[in-house]
């Protein structure tokens, strides 16, 4: 029996008696043989083992059993996510941008090498440098064949036509 200090105030007599032998004893080997005697009684009485086991505890214990594994897995996930997050959020410096900037030749050679990846129609839709010079995107109105005269003055059309070769003109027509 524990002998922790009892904080409740006790009269001196009860304090004194508490520290003395109380006179209660048990037969020799009483506790050692108790389990076997009880199981004998259970068998004699025909008391069967409980059928319904503690399913709620099993669930709890499964969670607690796998908790360390789950915690390690969660920690790894957080580490990987944090690594990815910081990597993707590190902005390149101006020097890095300059060193990684592609030249026009490089872009062109890339497009030619990977031409099969680009749709012909998409390429056809790309404006030429001349078109970009004639109609800057910021000022480009919504054009239609009917309104082309609004964009190019008749005298300009005439000079364009004069500059074109016959082959080019045939191609357009």
């Amino acid at each position: 029996m524990s002998k922790l200090p009892l904080h409740d105030p006790l009269p001196p007599l009860l304090n004194e008696l508490k520290n003395k032998e109380d006179g209660f004893h048990v037969p020799d080997h009483y506790f050692e043989t108790f389990e076997n005697r009880l199981f004998e009684r259970l068998e004699q009485s025909g008391i069967e083992r409980p059928q319904e086991l503690q399913s709620f505890k099993v669930k709890t214990n499964k969670i607690s059993r796998y908790f360390p594994v789950m915690a390690i897995a969660a920690a790894f996930t957080v580490l990987i996510a944090a690594f990815w997050f910081f990597q993707s959020n590190v902005l390149p410096t101006d020097n890095e941008i300059a060193s990684t900037e592609l030249t026009e030749d490089e872009i062109e050679s890339y497009v030619l090498d990977n031409l099969h990846d680009f749709e012909t129609e998409q390429l056809a839709m790309l404006p030429s440098e001349e078109e970009l010079d004639i109609v800057p995107p910021s000022h480009a109105p919504s054009t239609s064949p009917d309104s082309i005269e609004d964009i190019i003055a008749p005298e300009d059309v005439e000079s364009i036509l004069n500059d074109m070769t016959e082959e080019e003109l045939e191609e357009i027509l």
Partner: protein
């Protein structure tokens, strides 16, 4: 007082063993090994005689055996076991009291005679007087006094076993001490 060596195991480990059909018997044996002595002394101080305590302890463990599947884990296992042991001891005492004399001091006489007849009690007159004084207390005060005085159980744990507030338990213990003190002064 005799104590036997026990292997310490947590309540969670015990319940895990009890939850599996394969390990149930081992788990139940370990549960008995872990708690039998504490429950025995709790019961013994309530019923006084060893033979009675042995009967009540066996009944307690049979109740635990039958009911462990329904233990919901709302309280500590220790609290649940103590509650069963306390109820078994009270039921046993009440059934004994019904068969005892109808005289007003029947329980007191019973306590003294039980102790004197018990071969496993060799306390002196003052110890018998203390046990008789305890036996004179109302049931609740008697249980609170024994749990606090002998088992030194914290009031919070006691509240879980007896379903009573800590304040009420402290008041019960205080009244019990005063009554025992008066009983000694009278004689």
């Amino acid at each position: 007082m005799q104590t036997g060596a026990t292997i310490s195991i947590t309540d969670e480990q015990l319940l895990e063993l009890l939850a599996s059909e394969r390990t149930f018997e081992r788990g139940f044996r370990m549960l008995m090994s872990q708690y039998k002595e504490r429950l025995y002394w709790h019961i013994r101080r309530m019923v006084l005689a060893h033979d009675d305590a042995d009967d009540v302890l066996q009944n307690t463990f049979i109740k635990i055996y039958k009911g462990i599947a329904h233990f919901e884990g709302k309280s500590k296992l220790y609290t649940w076991l103590y509650r069963i042991a306390t109820n078994e001891a009270i039921t046993y005492l009440q059934s004994k009291a019904r068969h005892a004399t109808n005289s007003l001091d029947g329980s007191v006489s019973l306590a003294a005679s039980k102790l004197k007849a018990d071969e496993w009690f060799d306390g002196d007159e003052i110890q018998i007087k203390l046990q008789v004084a305890i036996a004179e207390l109302p049931e609740k005060q008697r249980i609170v006094f024994k749990l606090r005085y002998y088992d030194e159980m914290p009031y919070e744990e006691m509240a879980g076993i007896l379903n009573t507030s800590v304040g009420a338990l402290k008041a019960s213990f205080h009244h019990a001490v005063k009554k025992i003190e008066s009983a000694f002064k009278e004689t």
